[in-house]
């Protein structure tokens, strides 16, 4: 069980690195779907052994929303708007990858220093969670299109979700769920906004967004 858990975590880490390197929007969407499914798997592999109904329920919800719902939705949006398939980056692709690796190294150091003593997080969970979070943020910063920013946001939320998994209890289930729904609503609103951006600017490239400044 534990090694399986570690394996899933490792997969998540690899997916992060691929996200940082990937140059195609479709690929990013797929990776986010993969991450969603891996998150559901993590929920089903509880560290302290017992598996209750609420974990399963939440896992299903995560699978449905993050693993299937969002990616499908985002793909539809990108299809509908006829978005060109390549990611447009602002800082290149090497630098973000480097930043992601640096973040990984830093968070592993952090784990060594303070997290292990706590005994709350399984090995590697904290580094991977933080790396995922920062991967998402790097994508948001690096990519020039509205859609890729949404994907980045999604990935960042995944990282936070990972960190929250060990803390999950019966009582907090509803909140996890509402948070999930909240994220869902956010993605939904963002997608609508992308739609509007496309109709207003006939592109979703954020390079057009330079009107409001000082």
């Amino acid at each position: 069980m534990y090694s399986l858990f570690q394996f899933v975590i490792l997969l998540l880490l690899i997916s992060d690195l691929v996200v940082l390197w990937s140059g195609r929007i479709l690929m990013l969407i797929r990776l986010s779907a993969l991450q969603g499914m891996l998150l559901a798997a993590l929920l089903l592999l509880p560290i302290n052994g017992h598996l209750d109904g609420e974990h399963i329920f939440l896992a299903c919800a995560v699978f449905a929303l993050k693993g299937i719902g969002f990616p499908v939705f985002l793909r539809r949006v990108s299809h509908k708007l006829g978005i060109e398939p390549m990611v447009r980056v602002r800082l290149g692709r090497f630098f973000p990858l480097l930043a992601g690796l640096a973040c990984l190294a830093f968070s592993m150091l952090l784990e060594n220093r303070i997290a292990e003593a706590l005994g709350l997080f399984p090995h590697m969970l904290l580094p991977v969670a933080l790396t995922t979070l920062f991967t998402g943020l790097i994508v948001v910063v690096n990519c020039a299109k509205a859609l890729t920013q949404v994907i980045g946001y999604l990935v960042a939320e995944n990282g936070i979700f990972i960190l929250g998994i060990p803390l999950m209890t019966e009582g907090s289930m509803w909140f996890e769920l509402s948070i999930l729904l909240d994220v869902f609503a956010a993605i939904f609103v963002m997608a609508i906004a992308i739609n509007h951006i496309n109709s207003a600017f006939s592109s979703i490239d954020l390079a057009h967004f330079r009107n409001l400044r000082d």
Partner: protein, 499 residues
Amino acid sequence: MMLILLLFVPVVAGIVMFIPGSWPRRQLLPAVGMLHTLLSGMTLNAVRTGKAPSALGGLLQPDALGVIFLMLASLLFLAASFYAVGYLREEDKLHVKRDFNGGRPFTNAPETRFLACLCFFIAAMTLVTTTPNLGALWVGIELTTLSSAPLIYFHRHQASMEATWKYLMICSVGIALALLGNILMNVAFFHTNADLHGMDQVSAFIAAAKEVQGTDNTIWLKAAFIFLLVGYGTKMGLAPMHTWLPDAHSQAPSLEAALSSGALLNCAFLGILRGHQIMIAGGLGDFSGGLLIFFGLLSMATAAVFIVGQGDYKRLLAYSSVEHVGILALSIGIGGTALFGGMLHSVCHSLTKGMLFLVAGNILTRYHSLSSYDVRGLREDMPLSGALWTAGFLAIVGSPPFGLFVSEFTILKGIFASGRIFVALGYLAALATIFVGMSVPVLRMVQGRPPRDVPKSYSESLYTVLPPAVLCLMVLGLGFCVPDWLADTLNRAAALLGA
């Protein structure tokens, strides 16, 4: 029951707005506003007299801090709801609209959606201000983002789209970080309380924090606060995370901007305050206080930089919000006497800023330009709005006899009491710079001969003048007299923050 009504009246109203057909939707809004304000007032009274109203199994259980912000949100909503009636009527008159930046013609978003989102917006803020639960607080703040995004995009033109996107993206990222802060908070208390059930309640956190005091776990607490600060600070508009604020507030319809600036920023601030409360209990008040002071001063300085030479009057107001948010953070960080000043400041600032944005809306409706260079002779052209604009300017920069003077003075005294002379120096320097910076565009608009190219026959509608006028009178009153019940509540709130 009162609390449940408080939360669900606007929700239901929002849903009702979607009922198709042409019925007087607009007029429903003031009704909701009045009902909500009444309920808020009752809640305030209940909290002030020491009763602890609670509903939904403790999900809604306002304390003095929250109830102040609730009352403010409610009052501003009431003002905005009346204002909306006049505003939308004015909007209807114009069929072909031009982008304020000179772009293509645009249309407005459907009124139904606008009104419904307004209701959801206030509902979300009600949740934020009444819940003692950090998770629910987070959900509420995220909901405010989502419900206000469509409001910003009411005028469907490119600039407002841009603003909406920035708002949505930056705030979402920020709030995601705040969520991480919530989680880290739980991590910090992992050991002290094996039973994590019901842990998200602030009171439970505070109790736990006292146990954590002095242990290694404080490092998690510190990290948690940093995430909360950056996360909610983004939403609140602390520099350098404030970047969305001037865009969103300048492009949003003025009543949304009034609500955002006056009420929403407070809500986000509440998130930070909850963190600060826990930090104080954990013996880390100096750490969080220091951070708040730093960001407070940084925000004031940033605001000063952007206010000086600012040409766009709504951006001006937005940056002024950054400034005042900075003052709030500073005052809480300083503690002591400044806490009372800070709480009073939040009240005065909300009322003043709400009023200013509403007046700015009037000006925008008349001149169709956001640039202060296009507006001249307000005093003559729109006597009431012009007078309110001048009064609002004097109020917001902290001149007597307006309430902000009292609060800023108290905060200054608190700073001196804490012995931080250089903070006082920075505070005064920023205030002075901002005064000078703001006076230029404001006077440019108020003085002079009205431009010839705006139509002559114009009369100010009561709907759009009365709400800001009432707010203005309230701020004026606060400059002379802080009623006992308010002082009482503010003191209770300050006590929660360690005063």
